[in-house]
């Protein structure tokens, strides 16, 4: 009987330890788009019940801050209260089209799901996201492709006016400077207030008027918009 106990107990612990224990992750994010920048990325490992966003659900205020203005400070505070392990702004600013950034993330016990958010710039409230991806126990390299989502919090008027605060209509900036000015606006409606797949920028080719300040030959994309490589050490 004693022998059985000695054999069984350690192996049970080993089984439990796998999915719940700390991990060392190397994470690489590549911006796959032609002309869309990623604002400072937030990469976080958290418990399985946490989400930065969920498809078909309304955006949180923290997500709205990211999607409309690239501000991750709200999530930063919230994640601290749930003891998440985060890598904030690994690229040290914007992640340009075609560029990659790499970061290491040490996760503590229980933080077994990975999430990522960053604003797609220039958009009104578009973001690239990974929602609560289960970190594998098995060491290895895993690749995930991410889509562009719409937070559903702001009308996609496509006017560049510096508006990046939550509730302020407009796009903060086009980092590439390919934008026009003087647009009348694509729409002043937000029909779908849930987080959904972004329908893309419309844009136009009129640099001094038209519906959109965005350039339809530059600022469009098709999913996926990001490639994430996660190495579990």
């Amino acid at each position: 009987m004693k022998v059985i106990n000695k054999v069984l107990i350690p192996s049970c612990l080993a089984l439990l330890a796998g999915p719940l224990s700390a991990a060392e992750l190397d994470i690489k994010v590549t911006n796959l788009t032609h002309g869309i920048y990623f604002t400072p990325l937030l990469i976080t490992a958290h418990t399985s019940d946490a989400h930065l966003y969920e498809l078909g659900m309304a955006a949180s205020e923290d997500l709205q801050k990211v999607a409309e203005g690239g501000d991750i400070s709200g999530f930063s505070s919230t994640l601290a209260t749930i003891n998440a392990d985060s890598s904030e702004n690994p690229a040290g600013g914007l992640l340009a089209p075609g560029a990659s950034t790499e970061t290491m993330l040490s996760t503590t016990d229980g933080n077994v799901h990975l999430s990522i958010v960053s604003m797609l710039l220039p958009t009104n409230d578009g973001f690239v996201g990974l929602d609560s991806w289960s970190i594998p126990d098995e060491p290895g390299t895993y690749t995930v492709y991410l889509n562009g989502y719409d937070a559903g919090t702001e009308a996609n008027n496509e006017i560049i006016n510096g508006g990046g605060m939550p509730g302020v209509l407009g796009i903060p900036v086009d980092p590439s400077g390919n934008n026009g000015t003087g647009a009348v606006g694509v729409t002043d409606m937000e029909e779908n207030s849930m987080v959904h797949v972004h329908r893309g920028n419309l844009g136009d080719t009129d640099v001094s008027a038209g519906m959109s300040d965005l350039d339809s030959t530059v600022h469009r994309w098709l999913n996926p918009v990001a490639k994430v490589t996660i190495t579990v050490n």
Binding site: L55, G56, N147, G148, D150, G152, V186, T187, M189, E191, N192, S193, M194, H196, V197, H198, R199, G200, L202, M211, S216, W221, L222, N223
Partner: protein, 236 residues
């Protein structure tokens, strides 16, 4: 009902063993009538409409043993054509290889989710297919094609993000009168096939805001992949 019958019969036979000597009159009543109880297998299929402004026609879910709802590069069946052009699912449900079908309650709006339950008896080997029209298109649809359920144990879930397909049965003219959804209120199914006549991935809509002046669609009706999140959970 059947369960309780069996329980009563079992209880009665237990009692009969205990009081065998004194209950000889009850022998006829306690003969157990045990009908084989069918194994009911149920799947909850939850669909979230991830588009901005493309309502989905009522979700159409079928279980089948063989075949595929569509094949890329092949002509659409008439049943799929009707679904993709008008959202009508009667023909789809009547396909000869379909064993069970279930429909959603109505239009599934952008941002909304709906769960459709589908049950079958005595098999866990079904294939599951699902189709729903993006109603502000000429013949665009999304769904699942012949997903094998045999590995799904009770309590297991399987999830996918699905793209948009073009049935290839109707030209994507986007013209007034050709689109049944709220953007137009036009015609649904037309038997004539005036497009490529092969099923393909959808190339998206153009819209009047993007230079197609004859289109009834606006920038709001544009979409990118994926357009739906679908989760299948086996509940029994």
């Amino acid at each position: 009902m059947i369960k309780s019958k069996i329980k009563l019969a079992l209880l009665a036979s237990t009692l009969s063993v205990a009081f065998l000597s004194g209950c000889s009159d009850d022998d006829d009543k306690i003969a157990p009538i045990i009908e084989p109880e069918p194994l009911v297998v149920t799947y909850d299929v939850t669909v979230t409409n991830l588009t901005y402004s493309q309502p989905f026609s009522p979700l159409s879910v079928v279980l089948h043993n063989d075949g595929a709802l569509w094949s890329i590069g092949e002509p659409a069946s008439v049943a799929l054509e009707k679904l993709a052009e008008s959202g009508a699912n009667a023909d789809l449900f009547a396909l000869s290889n379909v064993t069970v079908s279930a429909a959603g309650n109505g239009i599934l709006m952008p941002g909304a989710s709906e769960t459709v339950s589908i049950s079958i008896e005595d098999t866990t080997e079904s294939l599951l297919s699902l189709a729903t029209m993006l109603v502000n298109t000429n013949d665009g649809f999304t769904g699942l094609n012949s997903i094998s359920l045999s590995d799904l144990m009770v309590g297991d879930s399987w999830s996918a993000m699905t793209g948009v397909y073009d049935a290839g049965t109707e030209a994507n003219s986007e013209m007034a009168g050709t689109i049944p959804g709220p953007a137009d209120g036009g015609a649904g199914y037309e038997s004539a096939r005036d497009d490529s006549d092969i099923v393909s991935m959808h190339r998206g809509v153009v819209s009047m805001d993007d230079g197609l002046m004859s289109s009834v669609l606006t920038q709001a009706h544009k979409f990118d992949q994926p357009t739906a999140k679908i989760t299948i959970t086996r509940t029994e």
